[in-house]
Symmetry: C2
Subunit: 147 residues, 2 copies
């Protein structure tokens, strides 16, 4: 369903029905290209690191979160376009075998003062693992068209 | 060079010597896996979209920024570990043919009150294209070990 600015209501919570199961192979493949640090690439090196165990790059977690959202029915009429994040945190690492889902809560709906064709929808996107623990929390302003 | 908390000085600016040239093929390949929206996948669809032209996913820009930093000598002794971002924006899109580099300014150096072995270094990371225009600005707290 394609939503316009008016269709977003403060307090609504959208939940992805999709789940993303994370493998060690995917963690390493992402890291090789975008974040080649030992604790994202190699189990043995990770054991002696800050993380204690192989952990996904935070940017990999962000990418998997985005994919879950794009595949969900949380969509504005122009797609999912973020102007930016006011806050983006990774409270705990993503490990091989984790199963991720996303909850998105609408915090604010604002018309633009300068552009009548668009507005901003502020949302909190929380990525959760199979134990219901947050692995990423982001507060984002989405660019949404008016009707 | 591996740096500890004491080695970071407020006001210092680090510049990546590396440059990342972005191709349309890479933009589409990242999008297929992590952000499969038409304006990141297809030139014709992008022309009718908010972006007007093929544009990299913001998460792709974030990943390329991370790679430039990991390959640079801006490194703490434990690697580059971000606790989170206070602000993360994409002021303009990354296009095919763009050439990216990163400037990192140290904003704040703080010891941890609860853990004597680590501290936080707050930095502003600005990703610039070949025209010196910012394509990503992030204010991040890095977890850095004490000596």
């Amino acid at each position: 369903m394609s939503r316009y600015l008016d269709d977003f209501v403060v307090g609504e919570i959208y939940r992805t029905s999709g789940r993303k199961r994370v493998t060690a192979e995917e963690i390493k493949r992402f890291a090789q290209e975008y974040d080649p640090q030992p604790f994202h690439l190699d189990e043995a090196a990770a054991r002696g690191s800050f993380f204690g165990e192989l952990a996904a790059s935070g940017w990999h977690t962000a990418g998997m979160t985005m994919r879950l959202l794009v595949d969900s029915d949380f969509k504005a009429a122009n797609g999912l376009i973020g102007a930016g994040f006011e806050d983006l945190r990774w409270p705990r690492p993503v490990r091989p075998g984790d199963e991720l889902r996303v909850e998105t809560e609408v915090l604010e709906v604002r018309a633009s003062s300068s552009r009548p064709d668009i507005g901003l929808v502020k949302v909190r996107m929380t990525t959760l693992n199979q134990n219901g623990e947050a692995v990423q929390i982001g507060v984002c302003n989405l660019v949404v068209p008016t009707r």
